[in-house]
Amino acid sequence: MIEALRERLEELRREVERQLNAAAGPADVEEIRVRTLGKKGALTAEAKAIGRLEPGARPKAGELVNEVKSALERAIAAREEELAGGELTRRLAEEALDVTLPGRRRGQGTRHPLSIVTDELLDVFRRMGFSVATGPEVETPWHNFEALNIPPGHPAREEMDTIYVAGMERLLRTHTSPVQIRVMESQGPPVRVVCPGRVFRSDTPDASHSPFFHQIEGLWVDEGISLGHLKWALIEFVHQYYGPDVDTRFRPSYFPFTEPSGELDMECLLCHGEGCRACKGSGWLELLGCGMVHPAVLEAVGYDSERYTGFAWGMGVERIAMLRYGVPDIRLFYENDTNFLHQFAAR
C-alpha cells in the first residue's frame, strides 16, 4: 500500500515536472501550482487521503507526501522565477532606445556677448578693489562736459558728436564719465569705482561705428595716487584679462579731463606684435584711454586738488568683444540674430 502511494506520488512528480517544463509563462506555472498544490489539487488530495489509511501506515505516508510536496514547491518556485526573469529580460530588450537620437532640450537662453565681456571686466576690477556704479543715459551738459573740464566751445566738445534732446538742456551721455562726477558729488574721497553703461555719439552706423555703444570707465581718487599707480593697475588688468605674457605700451595722449593723459596699447593678439591687418601693421592695439584726473575736475566736485590725486580710464566694450570673439562688424551685436547669440552658450 505504501508502495502504491510511493509510485503514484513519483508519477505525479514526473508529470508536474513535465508540465512545468512545458509551461510558457508565469501564468501556466500558477495554473500547475493550483492544480497540484491548491485546495483541490492532486497532491492535496493525496494528503487528505492519508487520514483514511490504517493508523500504522499514516506516519510513513505523511512523510512521503511532504517530501514530494516540498520538492514540487521548490520546482514550481524555481520554474516561476526562471520564467519571470525571462519575461523581464524580454521586456527590457523591447524597451531599448537608439541613444544616438537627440535629447529633448528645454532651450536655455544665452547671455549677450557684451554682457559677458562687461561682467568679465567688472570681475577683474572688483578683485582690484573697485565697486560698480551706474547712472542715467540722458545727462546734463554739466555732468557730461563742464564738470569734466570741457567748457562750451572746447574742441573736444565738438569732436564728441553729441546727440541732444530736443526742447531741453539735456543730451545723451557721450561717455560714462558723468557717472564718476555723480559719484564724487555724492561722496568724499577715497573713491574707487568702475562705471559700465551705454553711451551715444552722432555716428552713422557702419562696420565699426554705431550711434550707441558701451563703455567701462574707472576712477580711483585718494591721497598720493600717481601715474605709477595708474600704470600698475592697467597693466595688471591686461595681465589678468589677457594673460601675464601680453606686452603693453603706455604712451602720452590727450583728454580734457585728465592731465597727464595717456593711452594703453596692447600687443596685437592676432599677430603677437608682428604686424597684421587688425593692428594696421603696427603690432599694437589701442586698448584704452587714461590719465591722472585733471585738477579742474576734482575742483568741480569740491575736492581739494592739492591733497587728492587720482586716475581714471575708459574703454569700449564692443571693441574688446570684437577682438576677443573675432566679430568683424559692430552691427552684429545689435541685430540679435539667434544664429549669432546662440554661439555664446558656453560663455
Binding site: G107, H112, S115, R126, P155, E158, V165, L172, P295, T338
Partner: protein
C-alpha cells in the same frame, strides 16, 4: 596731419635726422604723444625716368595723331614717338628711358610704333603715379625745372623719394598741425636747434599803405590782421617742386597763388587768404561782426545766414570772407587776377569754433584757428608767403604791410612748476636740470629755478598749457611714460562684493535665460510711429539731431525694438525666438526726462525647441508667457504677483494683463501684441511681450525665513464649479481662501471647460484643493469642510457643482 619726412628734415641742419629714419622717428614721436598711425612712401615707385627736353618735334609719317620727337637727356638726342596732343618744343618732361619701370609694373622697351622706332616714352603725371598733377590730358610739363638737371633721375629732381608720417594730432595740439610744429617736437629727439625757413622778401614800389588799409572793429574776434599787396601777378600753375610737395601731404594743387598759401599753412601753421585786390571795393579791409540775418555766399557757392557772433572780413562796401573760416566767391583769385591782397590774421579760437558749428563749414583754416594758431605768427607767415608768391607767380611785393593789432606782443603765461608736485603726480622724481632741458626743447622759457620751484614761460603757440599739471605732463612725456615705475595700488584688504543691485540684475538675467530667453541688445532709438499702426505714444523724448528719421525718439519702452528682433528671427526661418533685454527707457515727465530701467521679454514661434519626438509643437501662447514671467518674478522674490486685465491699445484687447506685486506696487505688463502692430513690426506670427520695471524688482536681497510645512500626508479633493462666464478664476480662488474652512493648504486650477453640456453663459472650473494638518486628517473631517465650502459657495455666489 600728414607730415613729409624730407620737409621735416629741412628744419634742421643737413644730416641731423639721419639717426632717425622714418620708422624710428614714428616710433619715438608716438611714445612722445604724437601718435603716428601710418608710415608710407610719399609716391609710387618707378625707376629709369629722367628729366628730358623736347628739342625737335614733327609729324609721324604714318599716323596723324602721333608726334615724332627728339628728346635730349644729357647724352645726345633720342627719337621718341609721342601720342599726346600737347608736346611743346623746348619744354621739359619726365622721359621714361628704355628699360625703365613705371608704377603698375609697367616696363618700357624699345619699340616700333607705326613703323618708326621709339626709344622710350614721355610721361603723363598719372603714368608716374602722380594722378593729382598735370593738366587735364597729355604729357606733364615739369614746370620750374632747370635745364642743368637734364638727364637726372626725375625722383631726385622732384624730391619724390620721401616718406609720409600720418600723425593723429590730439585736439589740444593745434600747434602741431604744421611741419614747424612737429619739428619742435623732433627738436628734443635730435638735440639740434631748428632752423626756420629763410624769407627772401624783396619789396619794391609804392607803399601798400598808400593804396590799402585795414580797420579792426571786432577786436575780440580778430585781435590781429595784416596784409600785403603783390602786384604784377600772372596766375598759373605752380612749379613742380611745390606741386609734388603739396601732393605728398594730401593737398591738391589749385593755382600758384593758392598753392603758396596752402604751402605756408602746412609749413608754419598760419592759415592765409589771398584776395583779388581789384575786387576789394575801396581797396580796404574792415573786420567787423556780422549783422544778425546778414547773408553771404561762400567759396563753395552756398548762401549762408550770419549772426553777430561771426567775424566778417569786409571791403569798403560788403563782406568778402567769413573770418578764419572761408573766403567769398566774388573776391576769389582767378586767372585774371593781377594784384593779390594777402591776408594773415589771428582769430579767436572759440568764436571760430562757434562759427564753424553754426555754418556747418569746416576747413583747413578753421580747424587750425579753432584749436589756436600762434598769435605771433601772422607777420612772419605773411612775409614768407608774399616772398614765395612773388617767386613762383612772378609778381613784386609792394613796400610794407598794412594792418592792425591789439598790443604788439602777446602776453605770455608764467606757471610755477614744483618738482615735488611732479613726483607726487607722476610717481617718479625729476631734477631741475632735466625738467628745464625738456621744457626748453619745446620752446618753453625757464626764467628762474629756486629750489623746488621752476618758473616757466609758456610759448605763444601752446594754447593747451595753462596749469602746473600741464607742465608736469610735458616733462613726463618727454622723459617717457615707459620710464615711470609701476607702483602697486594700495588696495583695500578685502575686494568689494557684488553690489545688491548688480546681484539682483544678475538673478533676473539668469531666470530669464533659464526660461529660455536669449539676452538681446537693441537700439535706444525708435521712429515717431513706434507701433507702426498710427497709434501714437504720448510723451516720447525727441532727439534734436537724430541720425535718421527712424531714430527720432528715445525708446519709451524696450518692447518695440525687442519684438522686432523676435520678428526678424522668425522671418529668417528660426522655429522659435525668445529674447530678453535689460535697459533704459525714457519718457517726458513735467518738463524733465524720466528714465527707468526695464526688463523686457518677447517671444514668438514654437513653444519648445524643435524635437524629433514632437514634430509639430504647439505655438507659444499667452500661458507660456505668463508662466515664464511668473518664473522670472519668483527669482526676483516678487511672489504672488497679481495680474489684472489690461487696456493698452497696441496689445490684444482680451489677452493682456497689468502686473502688480502682492503689496500693490506696479511691476509692469504683458500680453499678446495686437495683430496689426505685430504685422507692422514685421511678424505674421503672434508675438508675446512683457515689460517689467527694475526699480520694483532689483532691490536689496530680501530677508527670508523658511516656513514650516506638515509631514503628515495631505488629503486632496477635486471640485468642478459651474460659474458665470464673467467670473474670473483669480476671484474664485480668492473666494475659496476667504471661505474660512479649516486645514486648506493649497488651491490649484487643473481644468477649465466651456461646452454645450453647461448652462448658457457658464463655464466649469476644475480646482484641486489640498488639506493638511499636523496630524493625519480623516476623510470624514475633510468631507465636512468640503460640505461647508460648497454650501457657502452656493449661498454666497450661486455656484453649482458640475
Amino acid at each position: 596731419m600728414r607730415v613729409s619726412y624730407r620737409w621735416l628734415a629741412s628744419f634742421f641742419p643737413p644730416g641731423s635726422l639721419d639717426a632717425l629714419p622714418p620708422e624710428e622717428l614714428a616710433r619715438r614721436l608716438t611714445r612722445q604723444g604724437l601718435a603716428v598711425d601710418d608710415v608710407r612712401p610719399a609716391f609710387a615707385a618707378f625707376t629709369g625716368v629722367v628729366l628730358g627736353k623736347v628739342v625737335q618735334a614733327g609729324p609721324h609719317p604714318n599716323a596723324d595723331r602721333l608726334t615724332l620727337c627728339e628728346v635730349e637727356a644729357g647724352d645726345g638726342a633720342r627719337q621718341v614717338v609721342c601720342g599726346a596732343p600737347n608736346v611743346e618744343v623746348g619744354a621739359l618732361y619726365g622721359y621714361a628711358t628704355v628699360g625703365s619701370r613705371l608704377p603698375g609694373d609697367r616696363q618700357i622697351r624699345r619699340a616700333k610704333i607705326r613703323g618708326v622706332e621709339s626709344q622710350g616714352m614721355l610721361c603723363s603725371a598719372p603714368e608716374l603715379g602722380l594722378d593729382a598733377l598735370g593738366g587735364p590730358e597729355g604729357i606733364w610739363p615739369i614746370g620750374g625745372a632747370s635745364e642743368a638737371d637734364l638727364g637726372r633721375d626725375l625722383r631726385d629732381v622732384l624730391a619724390l623719394d620721401d616718406t609720409i608720417l600720418d600723425i593723429d594730432v590730439t585736439s589740444n595740439r593745434g600747434d602741431a598741425l604744421s611741419h614747424l610744429g612737429v619739428a619742435r617736437e623732433v627738436q628734443w629727439l635730435v638735440g639740434e636747434e631748428l632752423v626756420l625757413p629763410a624769407i627772401r622778401l624783396v619789396e619794391s614800389g609804392e607803399a601798400a599803405a598808400s593804396r590799402s588799409g585795414v580797420e579792426i572793429e571786432d577786436v575780440e574776434g580778430c585781435p590781429r590782421y595784416f596784409g600785403r599787396l603783390i602786384d604784377g601777378i600772372r596766375v598759373g600753375t605752380s612749379p613742380a617742386w611745390l606741386q609734388t610737395r603739396l601732393v605728398s601731404v594730401g593737398q591738391r594743387p589749385v593755382s600758384d597763388v593758392v598753392d603758396v598759401t596752402n604751402f605756408v599753412m602746412l609749413e608754419l601753421g598760419q592759415p592765409l587768404h589771398p584776395f583779388d585786390f581789384d575786387r576789394l571795393a575801396g581797396g580796404r579791409i574792415v573786420v567787423r561782426r556780422a549783422r544778425d540775418g546778414e547773408r553771404f555766399v561762400t567759396l563753395d557757392g552756398r548762401e549762408r545766414t550770419l549772426d553777430a557772433e561771426i567775424t566778417m572780413i569786409c571791403d569798403a562796401e560788403r563782406p568778402v570772407a567769413v573770418g578764419g573760416v572761408m573766403g567769398g566767391l566774388e573776391s576769389e583769385i582767378s586767372a585774371g587776377t593781377r594784384t593779390v591782397f594777402l591776408e594773415s590774421a589771428h582769430f579767436d579760437p572759440a568764436r571760430v569754433s562757434r562759427t564753424v558749428r553754426k555754418l556747418g563749414l569746416p576747413s583747413e583754416a578753421s580747424t587750425r584757428f579753432a584749436r589756436g594758431v600762434d598769435p605771433e605768427l601772422p607777420k612772419i607767415a605773411l612775409d614768407r608767403a608774399a616772398a614765395l608768391i612773388a617767386e613762383v607767380a612772378g609778381g613784386s611785393v609792394a613796400s610794407g604791410r598794412v594792418g592792425a593789432e591789439a598790443g604788439e606782443r602777446v602776453e605770455r603765461r608764467r606757471i610755477e612748476l614744483r618738482l615735488s608736485r611732479h613726483e607726487v603726480l607722476v610717481g617718479k622724481a625729476t631734477t631741475a636740470d632735466a625738467a628745464r632741458t625738456a621744457l626748453e626743447s619745446l620752446g618753453f622759457g625757464v626764467t628762474s629755478g629756486r629750489g623746488d620751484v621752476l618758473t616757466v614761460e609758456v610759448p605763444s603757440w601752446r594754447f593747451d598749457v595753462s596749469r602746473e599739471a600741464d607742465l608736469i605732463e610735458e616733462v613726463a612725456r618727454l622723459e617717457g611714460y615707459e620710464a615711470v615705475p609701476a607702483s602697486p595700488l594700495p588696495a583695500p584688504p578685502v575686494a568689494p562684493a557684488r553690489e545688491p543691485r548688480q546681484r539682483a540684475i544678475a538673478r533676473l538675467s539668469e531666470a530669464s535665460r533659464a526660461a529660455g530667453f536669449d539676452e538681446a541688445c537693441t537700439p535706444s532709438f525708435v521712429p515717431e510711429d513706434v507701433l507702426g499702426a498710427g497709434t501714437a505714444i504720448d510723451n516720447m523724448v525727441e532727439i534734436r539731431n537724430p541720425i535718421s528719421k527712424a531714430d527720432r525718439f528715445l525708446r519709451p519702452f524696450l518692447i518695440p525694438n525687442l519684438a522686432r528682433a523676435v520678428a526678424y528671427n522668425l522671418k529668417r526661418g528660426a522655429p522659435r525666438a525668445k529674447l530678453f533685454e535689460i535697459g533704459h527707457a525714457f519718457r517726458r515727465l513735467a518738463g524733465e526726462v524720466e528714465e527707468t530701467e526695464r526688463l523686457a521679454l518677447a517671444a514668438g514661434g514654437a513653444r519648445s525647441p524643435l524635437d524629433w519626438s514632437e514634430p509639430h509643437p504647439p505655438e507659444y501662447d499667452f500661458w507660456d508667457l505668463k508662466g515664464d514671467l511668473e518664473d522670472v518674478l519668483a527669482a526676483a522674490a516678487a511672489n504672488s504677483p497679481r495680474f489684472s486685465k489690461g487696456s493698452r491699445a497696441w496689445l490684444h484687447p482680451g489677452r493682456q494683463a497689468e502686473i502688480e506685486s502682492g503689496d500693490g506696487t506696479a511691476l509692469g505688463f504683458c500680453g499678446e501684441v495686437h495683430p496689426i502692430v505685430a504685422e507692422a513690426w514685421g511678424s505674421e506670427r503672434k508675438l508675446y511681450v512683457a515689460e517689467l520695471e527694475l526699480a520694483a524688482l532689483a532691490g536689496p536681497d530680501p530677508e527670508m525665513r523658511i516656513m514650516e510645512w506638515s509631514r503628515e500626508p495631505a488629503v486632496e479633493r477635486d471640485l468642478a464649479l459651474v460659474v458665470p462666464s464673467g467670473d474670473l478664476a483669480a476671484d474664485i480662488v480668492a473666494e475659496l481662501w476667504r471661505s474660512g474652512i479649516d486645514h486648506l493648504k493649497g488651491v490649484r486650477v487643473f481644468d477649465r471647460y466651456a461646452g454645450p453640456q453647461l448652462p448658457e453663459g457658464h463655464y466649469s472650473l476644475g480646482l484641486r484643493l489640498t488639506f493638511e494638518a499636523d496630524r493625519t486628517l480623516t476623510d470624514e473631517e475633510v468631507d465636512g469642510e468640503m460640505n461647508r465650502l460648497l454650501e457657502r459657495l452656493r449661498r454666497e455666489r450661486g455656484y453649482e457643482i458640475r
